[in-house]
Each structure stands twice: as C-alpha cells, then as structure tokens.
C-alpha cells in the first residue's frame, strides 16, 4: 500500500515555499513605464535603498502555479457544507462578486463617481435599518469587532454627553471573545454574567447585576447556543430603567432575518456582520464589514463621515460634527463588501430575506433532529439557526470533540466550530445556513452518524485522523513553541521542519 505522503500527489502536492523557488533573474515581468526616468538625486543617498527590495525572484508561471496549487489545499463554500457555528458560511453569490468588481477603479476623492456610490450606500443604510428596526446607521465598520468597538464608543460618548461615567458592560458567558475585548478597548470594564440553565439570559439574573455603573448589556441574539433570548424585551426594559443601554451583537441575525427585529426588542445599538448574514465571502479571514445601527437617541454620536442628502436624491459626505465619536477608518470602510450586500438584498427582496431565517432554522433543526440520536445535546431549549452538541457520549470511548472535527475533514467536510461557546464543555457548534441543499444536510448527518458509530466500534483510529487531507494532524503546540513566522526564521531555525519541498 502507498503511504500517507503519496496522498497529496494528485492533484494536490506539498507546495514549496516561494522563497525556495526564488532564483535571481527568473522574474522578467515588464512593468508599465510611461515616464522617462529621472535621476532622483534630490533624494538623499542615505535614505535610498542601494539594494533591490528583498523579494522572491520568480517567473509568472511559478507565481500562478504556486498560488493555484496552494488554493487547492483549501476548502471553500463551493466544495460543500461549511457548518461553522456563528460564522454563517452561506453560499456567496457570484453575481454579487461580479457587481462589486465594478467599483474597483474608483478613487474615493473622485467626487463625481462617488455620487453614484453614495446613493447606493444610502439605500443600503435604509435597507439595513428596515431589516433591523433601527433608525440610523454607519457603514464604516470593517468587521464585526470593529463594529462592536464603534458601538461601544458611541455608548461611551452618549454617556459622557449625559455626564455619566459608567464603566461596566455586562456580557453573557455565551458571548464571542470580541465582545469583552471591544469593551476594554473602548474603555469599559467587561463583566461576565451567566446565561441561565435553559441557555438564555434571565431577567432575574440581570437584575442582580444592575447598578449605576452599568453602561450596557452586550448580548448576541440568538446567542451562540442558537437559542433566542426570550426575555430580551423584559431585559431591555430593566436596562433602560437603569439608564443602561442594550447593545446587540448581530452576528447571528441570519436566524431572525425578516422574522424578528433587534430594534423591536429594545436594542439601542447593534452591529451586523455583512460577511455572515449578507452572503459576502469571508476571504479566508476577511475583508468583512460591520455596519453599526442605532436608535434615534444615539444618532449624534455616529462616526464620521455621515452621508447626508443635499438636493433631492443626491448625497454628500459630512466630515465635521462635535458630537460624533470621530473617524474609524481611513477610507470608506470595506466599501466593496457594502456593494455586495446591497446586490444581495436587492436580489432577495422582502420575501427572500424572510425565507433566509426560515430555511436557516429549518436546516439546523433537521440536522439537530438527526444527530440528537447519536450525540449529547446539552440544552433542551429549542434552537434556531444553529445548535451545540458535545462529545460527552464519545468521550466514554476516548473520542473527543477535536477527534470528531478531524474525522470530518477526512470525510471531506469542514468541521463545525469547536470548543465554543465556552459555556459548554467541548462544544461542537453547528450552523448549516439556508443555502445547504437537503442532500448535503443528509450527507453531513450521515457522516456524523458514521463517526458516532466509529467512535464506538473503533475509537483507536481517531488519533490518526484526518486520514485524507493535504497534511496530517497539525502540531499547533510545536508552532507556538518555535514561533517561525517568516521564511527567514525558518531558514535560521535548525529545528524547523522546513523542507524545501
């Protein structure tokens, strides 16, 4: 039999580092050269680089092959289900990519071209506000966490305006790590509060924490257990009575799109993750986009610039305001993502938007129903677009959440989010989204069942998983211990497993 190292030969093979392909003189690219070259002796020699910039010297063919072959070591949404919980890995429509490509040659200071862009941004703002039941918005947040920070700064500013110096932000234990981190950067003190035994925050719990230092509650709804925060209206009332704000992390909006609106729940401020709910691709880590929406009383604090109407149907940017928190980005946020989002919203229309939450919830519950026979489900409360399993039953045979994830890779499926939320031990958090075909849901459920069976019959094989993947199980501890972060460090570190191939 052939060995594991053979497995990646066709069509994938271990790809050498660019630095290993580098050889002087191979790059013969002709660059645009419209101008006669000046001597540039006005620039001090001590500041000029006497050497060439230190970059690999490779041919175009090698560039193309290198990155193409690398791409093939990745799993994308066009491969199949990508059930990362709270990440909303839905299909990224090709038409939205195509349309966003049309803004590429525009400079934001080309005011004439920007007229059309601002009109589109205004329409997007209005649509997002309508969908969320909020009054106004800013589109400049570059990702969810950037939106959170912006939102918390808005709240801080509003408090300052009121002359209040509240510093506590309450955050349920199911929250994403960005929530407390964003609070800290905004100058708040995040305090973790327990979500109840039923998986949602109870009004009675929050009562215990409310005092005059509480600036806000930061909550995700539905939360990362996929459970709707059923007491949210009551909680909002308690907060408001206490002079505190309700901040909503909209990362899980997909569950309730067109079905329920954060604004109606009492949210004062919230952000969206357009790269989740609104089908913009994740790009292997970004760019995302994190618009922030507010109720009327927080409008003065929105970051700059503001898009304001001048004449009918024409907009300009307003750059000064003494109330605003200020500028949060040097350009226009992740503008191309905003274009994709409007194209997506218009493509769907009002009914299509509502269908998203319906089918996202339907699909998640299908898988949950199937898997509840083989896996431990820690909460009995009904869930919406995602749900959490644990490895409790498999642990009996020594098979862990990590093993289950790696086994899935071997079956050609991207694993769910694992070990999150922290409130569940060894969580496996599954979100299929509305764009998974029924056949694919079945395939996933079948494979999970197979894994559950294998965990009983042959638990010993899990340690070697994933079997069939471009690399075997990756040693993350080794990485952290050696910290090889560049080619150069790889070269100089004798211990490094840097094979030129």
């Amino acid at each position: 039999m052939h060995e594991r190292k053979d497995l990646t030969i066709f069509p994938e093979r271990v790809e050498p580092l660019l630095s290993a392909i580098n050889k002087q003189g191979k790059n013969t690219r002709q660059m645009p050269a419209p101008f006669d070259v000046y001597p540039l002796d006005d620039i001090d020699k001590d500041i000029q680089n006497e050497d060439l910039p230190d970059l690999p010297d490779v041919s175009e063919v090698e560039t193309v092959r290198h990155f193409t072959r690398l791409s093939r070591l990745n799993y994308g949404i066009d491969h199949g289900i990508y059930p990362l919980g709270s990440c909303t890995m839905k299909y990224n429509p090709k038409i939205c990519e195509e349309i966003a490509g049309r803004v590429k040659d525009i400079h934001p200071a080309d005011t004439y071209a920007m007229t059309d862009i601002l009109k589109i941004l205004m329409e997007l703002s209005k649509d997002l506000e309508e969908i969320c039941g909020m009054d106004a918005s800013t589109l400049w947040g570059a990702a969810g966490a950037h939106g959170e920070l912006t939102g918390m700064l808005i709240i801080k500013k509003a408090l300052e305006k009121k002359g209040e110096n509240r510093s506590t932000v309450l955050i349920p234990d199911t929250a994403h790590g960005t929530n407390p981190a964003s609070c800290t950067i905004a100058g708040f003190n995040p305090v973790q509060i327990p979500s109840g035994p039923r998986g949602y925050l109870e009004a009675s719990t929050i009562k215990d924490y409310l005092d005059d230092d509480v600036a806000a509650l930061m909550i995700t709804n539905p939360n990362t257990l996929g459970i709707f925060e059923q007491e949210i209206a009551h909680i909002a009332e308690l907060l408001h009575n206490n002079g505190s704000y309700l901040y909503m992390d909209g990362a899980n909006l997909n569950a309730i799109l067109g079905t329920s609106r954060p604004g109606d729940m009492g949210a004062d401020c919230m952000h969206l993750n357009l790269h989740k709910t609104f089908a913009s691709p994740h790009g292997g880590g970004g760019p995302g986009s994190g618009p922030v929406l507010v109720k009327r009383h927080l409008i003065p604090y929105l970051p700059l610039p503001w898009i304001v109407a001048d004449e009918k149907d024409s907009y300009t940017l307003k750059w000064d305001s003494t109330s605003s928190i200020g500028t949060i980005h040097s350009g226009m946020g992740n503008l191309a993502v905003l274009i994709k989002t409007l194209a997506y919203i218009l493509s769907l229309g009002p009914e299509g938007i509502k269908d998203v939450s319906h089918v996202a919830t339907l699909n998640a519950n299908y898988i949950k129903t199937r898997l509840s026979k083989s896996f431990d489900i820690p909460y009995t409360t009904p869930t919406l677009h995602e749900f959490v399993l644990t490895d409790k039953r498999q642990q009996a045979n020594g098979v862990t959440t990590m093993d289950i994830a790696k086994a899935l890779i071997g079956f050609g499926i991207h694993p769910p989010t694992i070990y999150f939320p922290l409130v569940v031990n060894n969580a496996i958090m599954i979100e299929p989204t509305e764009t998974e075909p029924l056949e694919e849901l079945k395939r996933f459920a079948d494979i999970m069942e197979t894994i559950a069976t294998l965990a009983e019959t042959s638990p010993e094989i899990f340690k070697d998983m994933p079997f069939v993947s471009p690399v075997g199980r990756v040693d993350e501890v080794w990485a952290a211990r050696h910290l090889i972060l560049t080619w150069d460090m790889g070269e100089s570190n004798k211990e490094a497993a840097v094979s030129k191939q």
Partner: protein, 433 residues
C-alpha cells in the same frame, strides 16, 4: 432571486422529519410581540440583469488622486488567482488541515512584508493603515505605560483622526503633533527633539502626507529616545526606492499596503500592515501564521500566538480584532510574487519620475509648488477653487483638496502620480490648466 436550494416539497419533508407543523412553529421561542409580521419595505427581488443595470459607475479617466489610496498597476494574475473560490470563500483558517492554502499564502505575505520592511515579523493584516496605527499606539501604551503619543502633523489626517477616536476616552494619554517645516515640508527636527522622551510613543509617516521624504536617518537619532516609536507608510510602493524602515530601528512599522495588488475600490477594502520586533511580538495585535509540522513530520502551517487574542484572552486580549483583511493580504502576496524585486523598484522609479515630470510642468505653468523637500510620488501645490473646478469640468481630477485639513496651507492641493498615469495625462493636465 433567492439562493435557497430547497424545493417547497423538501421544506415540507424537513418539517415532517423535525415533527413540526409549519415553519412559523420553529420560531415559537420568539415572543409573539417580537415577531415581525409586516413585509419589509425594501426593493427586489431582482434578476441578475436588472441588478447589473442598476450598478453602473463612471470613474474619471484622468486623475491625480492618492493621499493614502493609490491607483497602481495590478497584474492580471492577481485577480485570476484571488478569485478562486478556494481562497475567497474560505473562513479564517482555524482548521489547519483543510486550510493550508490560506495559511501558507499568509505566511508568505508575512515573510515578504518582513523582508521588505526589514522588521522581525508581520501580522496577518489589520483593517487599514489607520487602525493599524491606532492599534500600534495601544501596543505602545500597554507595553510601557507611556503617557504621550507624538505624531507628525504631516501624517495622513485620517490616520491621526482614527488615533483620536481610539484614544478619546483614555484620559491618561495625551496626543501631540510635531509641526512640519513650512519650507521643506519635512518634520521640524528641533520641535521633534523637544517633544520626545522615554515616556513618548512617536510615529512618523514616510513619505509624509505631502509626499515629502522625511530624513529618517536624522529622525532615528531622536526617535531612539522615545519609549516606543514607529514608522507609518501609506504608500508601500515607496519601499521599491527607499531604504527599508527597519534599518532605522523602530519598534513597529505600520501602514497600508493597498498599493500592493489591491484596487482603490472607492475607499476599501484596504490592507492594514503591522510589523514589529522580536521584543514586541507578544504584544502585537491580530492574527499570525506560524510554520510547524504535521503528524508525519511534514511542513505545515497554523495560526499561532493565539494566547494574545480575544478568543482566548477575551477582555485582556492585545486587541479586539478577529476578521481582518485576509484576501487583501493574499492579493498583496500574489502581487509581490508577480512583480518581484526589479518590478517593484521600477514601479517606484516610475512613480517618482512621473511626479517630477508633473511638478516640472506645473512649475512651467507658474503653479506654486509649496514644499522644496524631496518627494516620492506626491506633492502639494497651491490652486484656486476656480481652477480646480475648471479642470474637473474638463474631465480631469487634479488631486485632493487639503486646505481644509491644513488651514496653514491655503489653496493646498495634493497631486499624485503613479505608473497608471501616462505622459499624455500629465501633459493634458498642463494644457488644460
């Protein structure tokens, strides 16, 4: 048009499998008064052709715009590769076995940024240059408990604003600006010297917002006194010509690498860069990819140093950043691989030469060039509103108005030239003036 792949029958099939009557029942945990019963007031659904017709844009053909976002040549290979679904639809590479493509590409981006800047390491990207700078100030403050952030006034105003936004509620830190010399456009070295001490975090943009090349060799001597200092680069193409900033010994090099293979995109996505020293690596914000090995000892990559990050450290993380600008970093990596060392140098020389050519023609036309310091590919002239308007009406965008950003430069207009301008563009500007 929706992207739901289930037929009505299949939806029914699922309802049956779950044991639920209708879809509304799925939402029974949502209190009735919180359920939205109306029809959303948004347009659509639209078909693809109607969408295509609705998104039409008309950029100017000839323009001299820069100021932090640049129009550079992007080789066709960049789009061809970055548009592969394997790259652009993937999530953050938390599961390394199935994400080696993204991981190795980002590792190579890190490596190239580190080589270009001659810094120890680069992170996997930040939102943009301004937030990268803001995060660097946070790094400085948390590292050494510094009390003052000193930044050159000739640093991109948007960057300075973002620092202000990030630090506005931090009462223990003061933000100060170092003036520029009104003749040369370079930093006022004496003032700088007075403002910097070991309690200071210092940041200097190179080339500065006016396109002027700062005397970094001289500045470095003063900067060495600072508790922490950084070089800010908004036009990374300048690295094709100038000495790597790492040579001057800063703690960080931050800025924006949109110039590397990323289009202007009407203002974003951009590509925040943050490179640092070995000493500061554990205080760095953002993700970083490390080389490691797999179970059979083969080379492999994974995210590392996660203990700095929010998903582990939560409220105590070095930063709140999670999603970054991964695809933009990938584009930069492809770009740098495609243009190579000679290509980058040539582009830089073209930019610098084009700017000099335009400057020459402007001077011939009697236009006042404001500073006499050496420029890279931008420079400031004095221009009246009427002339700008006339040029715009002639179908040409003559740079960015900066007099509102710098009241001390009345009529200030920032002109930028890149290799995407042609000789004809430049001459056309002269003719139409």
């Amino acid at each position: 048009m929706s992207f739901i792949p289930l037929s009505r029958e299949e939806r029914k099939e699922i309802l049956d499998a779950i044991g639920v009557e209708d879809e509304d029942e799925l939402f029974e945990t949502i209190p009735p008064h919180l359920r939205y019963k109306e029809s959303l007031n948004i347009q659509g659904p639209l078909d693809e052709e109607t969408l295509r017709a609705r998104f039409q844009f008309r950029p100017h053909k000839i323009s001299f715009l820069g100021g932090g976002i640049y129009n550079h040549h992007i080789p066709a290979v960049v789009d061809a590769i970055a548009s592969r679904q394997e790259f652009y639809t993937a999530y953050t590479p938390y599961q390394p076995e199935i994400s080696q493509g993204t991981l190795q590409a980002i590792f190579e981006y890190q490596s190239m940024m580190a080589s270009l800047t001659k810094m120890y390491a680069s992170n996997a990207s930040m939102y943009d240059g301004a937030t990268a700078l803001a995060e660097a100030t946070l790094m400085a403050i948390s590292a050494k408990g510094l009390k003052r952030v000193v930044i050159t006034r000739a640093t991109n105003p948007a960057y300075r604003k973002v620092i202000n936004t990030y630090l506005q509620f931090n009462r223990s830190v003061e933000i100060l600006e170092v003036p520029f010399n009104i003749i040369s456009g370079q930093v006022d070295l004496d003032a700088l010297n007075d403002m910097v001490d070991s309690d200071t975090a210092l940041f200097i943009q190179q080339p500065n917002f006016f396109g002027i090349i700062e005397p970094l060799d001289k500045i470095a001597q003063t900067a060495a006194k600072a508790g922490f200092w950084g070089i800010v680069i908004t036009e990374m193409v300048s690295l094709g010509l100038l000495k790597p900033p790492g040579a001057f010994g800063p703690d960080v090099v931050v800025g924006d690498a949109q110039s590397f293979g990323n289009p202007q995109n009407a203002g974003g996505p951009l590509l925040g860069v943050l490179c640092t020293t070995k000493a500061s690596i554990r205080r760095m914000p953002g993700r970083i990819v490390g080389l490691t090995r797999d179970s059979s000892g083969k080379k492999a990559f994974c995210l590392t140093l996660a203990t700095r990050e929010q998903h582990i450290r939560r409220g105590k993380a070095t930063s709140n950043i999670c999603s970054n600008q991964g695809l933009c970093a990938l584009r930069a990596a492809i770009y740098l691989s495609a243009v190579g060392p000679r290509g980058l140098k040539k582009i830089a020389a073209q930019c610098a030469s084009g700017a000099r050519y335009l400057m020459k023609l402007m001077k011939e036309k009697g236009i006042d060039v404001i500073f006499n310091g050496p420029v890279f590919n931008e420079f400031v002239v004095r221009m009246e509103d009427a002339r700008i308007k006339a040029l715009e009406e002639a179908g040409l965008v003559p740079g960015i108005r900066i007099e509102n950003l710098y009241p001390e430069i009345p009529g200030g207009q920032l002109l930028t030239v890149t290799e995407m301008n042609t000789k004809k563009d430049v001459e056309c500007m002269k003719e139409r003036i």
